[in-house]
Symmetry: none
Subunit: 428 residues, 2 copies
């Protein structure tokens, strides 16, 4: 079945609020297996709302409107929707009583305009609102379903969960199941090139790709009559993606972040982490500390912005700074090794680069970043060239540092575990 | 003039991302004096995009589309918009070169699908994208204006600011002038209460309030035939706000951030800054380092997550940690003083708290944070109780730390400059 969303509210059109309701409802509808092809926003204007609703009813089986159910004159979603479906508004005695109780309980005066909220389209289903004074409404007419929800998320979400979801579930049996595959260290267009044939052939399951800084998320979604069948459809596609992306996949868990997976790797292997940041100025460590329980692996970190600080806290050699400059492979290496040495941590990530807009020198453009990773005495350094503004370069550096750390950890474990004879590029 | 917004992206219809682009663009259009009556969202589907664009062109003078300009097959905004306006796509040699440079600079492989991004509708204006590979496009046809922007906010916002805003400003005379007033250390509802009478009376100029973590931004906007007249209308209202909020106003500059204002204060007075962070794990320092040129005041910072690190790098006393706990006024004070002592910086901000979800102990709930500020030997510590999730508590802590630092600096300068006899609460 096809659903369409209409958000009503001039405050959305003016950009005073972000339309989080639409995101919530879209996600819920997708999970219920409803196809959503359009979303619209209109202001509190009867004529424009009417034309938007009429168009939506032509395109969809179900139209969900949120907002404009308040007691004031400019709230006219209910009135307009009733008119479009040819329904008269009548007083709902049950809701009239509910309103009286609501106000009495809060010692609030019920003003005349509040009675407007007890008027409902004839023949509709009136849905309880535990968090406000506007009831929800479901109207059915000629095989179409129109659902009205209040605008404040604190009222809308509980009402949707409790009453509208069960209603929609009954309308649309069929199950949708999706599986996330999260990839790091690869750009979006490269990732898509690697699966172009799968995307071209896709019908059921489908693959959607989402780009994040330094990551690509792939969502595989299948639809079937039962959850079991949908899962069965998913399986070969997920397997295929695993084969193509291999170790670049850091998680298939919807809620796992790259930093949480890296911390898990460290924890599982009883390794502690420290950090030595220059151009990122704490941003890398802050991402590590995003993860609850990070304190188990990270005890301390250094923000060594000046050359002096790099020497004092990390033991970077004066001669290296003079000869190679602060933004160099050598200094990144000495930072990582030094931090491990002074803190006795098992692992250190170091970052030194030019975030711009100033600081460019000959042969060292803005965006040049060196990231070092020292694991139990072995240091890998990699050179990166990022583009964009200061913040973008710093965020790209952090994502690359997490990816490099993960890669080095996996390499280290495989050698430790299997005693592989294969030699990786490394320093000293 | 009437503008309409179309956001293109299946990920929005699936609820995978919140449509913040629409909120940003709506606000910008309102500021430019453009009327927006409809917003739409469509997926990456040529037919549905075409019908949506055709409808928008009937209703509006300007249509702004964002998203769907990527290199992959399902990105088809440019192709569809060109078709609707009857334009052929041709290779833009300038952008072709820009792409080659972009990939060469990053040592990345340019895949075949990337060339698609250098194809542009004939006769269009090609707009530079400093943060990505998709150029912006402006098409003009029969008095209508169609603007194409990339979807990622990190690309879309700078492009809009630099190129699209000046273009739209020329299209829509009649002048709108706005003035930002940025306030810190006060909540949104308190700020609104303080100016309720002004908001109730407002016609021209108007006041809009926007809440940010730890800050409130007030935008005063006036409309008149000329810029001069509009500015004249603004003046008394801005003056009134300055009287009401006083020193809580940290800037009236649209582009100034709280951190950049704090750095300016430090620079003007030749003071250096260091940091000692626990629960925020680098987030405070990272915000300081957001500001280009931060290296002039910040040389180093400490992330002392463990008790041991607090002792080793900041000289926090073992007895203080035992007696008061790591999250205490005393430890925040010793952290700030210690960091100043060891680094010889003039100023230090320290942060220690419980970000949750674990770590709560008796009398010390999740959200309890102590922030210390030491300026030339004088330390102020303040206690905060924040609510929300881990990330929210850490962001609130950072905003509060910037506000406290600013407040302490202003107090310090006023005493130093005027030798005021007034005593401020301070430690030792």
């Amino acid at each position: 079945m096809v659903v369409e969303l209409i958000s009503v509210g001039t405050e959305i059109l003016l950009g005073n609020i972000v339309n989080t309701n639409a995101a919530y409802l879209s996600e819920q509808c997708a999970l219920l297996g409803l196809s959503c092809f359009y979303q619209s926003v209109v202001g509190d204007n009867a004529e424009r709302l009417r034309s938007t609703l009429e168009l939506a009813l032509k395109r969809a089986d179900i139209v969900i409107l949120s907002g404009g159910l308040g007691p004031t004159e400019d709230d006219l979603t209910k009135e307009t929707a009733a008119e479009v479906l040819g329904k008269t508004l009548i007083m709902d005695e049950h809701w009239r009583e509910a309103l009286t109780t609501f106000f009495a309980k809060r010692n609030m005066k019920l003003t005349e305009n509040n009675w407007k909220q007890a008027m409902v389209p004839e023949g509709c289903i009136v849905v309880d609102n535990k968090n406000g004074t506007a009831p929800g409404i479901i109207m059915e007419e000629k095989g179409k379903h129109v659902i009205l929800l209040p605008g404040p998320p604190g009222e809308m979400i509980p009402m949707f969960e409790e009453s509208m979801k069960p209603y929609l579930l009954k309308l649309n049996p069929g199950k949708i199941v999706s599986q996330m595959v999260k990839v790091c260290g690869i750009g979006e267009s490269m990732a898509e090139t690697m699966i172009l044939d799968l995307i071209d052939q896709q019908t059921n399951p489908t693959i959607a790709t989402y780009a994040k800084t330094g990551e690509v998320h792939l969502r595989v979604t299948a639809k079937a009559d039962s959850e079991k069948e949908a899962k069965k459809l998913l399986k070969p596609m997920v397997k295929e993606l695993k084969e193509r992306f291999g170790a670049k996949i850091y998680s298939t868990n919807e809620n796992a972040s790259l930093e949480s997976c890296v911390i898990d790797l460290l924890k599982e292997n009883d390794l502690t982490l420290t950090t030595a940041e220059s151009c990122t100025g704490g941003l890398f460590t802050a991402r590590i500390v995003n993860v609850p329980g990070a304190s188990e692996v990270l005890k301390e970190g250094f923000i060594t912005y000046s050359n002096k600080a790099k020497r004092k806290y990390l033991g970077v050699k004066k001669s290296s700074l003079m000869k190679y400059g602060a933004v160099s492979e050598r200094v990144a290496e000495e930072m990582a090794r030094g931090a491990c040495f002074f803190t006795k941590a098992d692992v250190c990530v170091s970052i030194t680069g030019i975030a711009g807009p100033d600081g460019e020198t000959e042969g060292k453009p803005v965006g040049l970043v060196y990231i070092g990773c020292c694991i139990c005495g072995r240091t890998t350094v990699r050179e990166y060239r990022f583009s964009g503004e200061r913040m973008k370069i710093r965020e790209s550096s952090v994502a690359a540092a997490l990816t490099l750390l993960r890669e080095c950890l996996l390499g280290y474990f495989s050698e430790v575990t299997f005693g592989s004879g294969e030699k990786r590029s490394k320093k000293k």
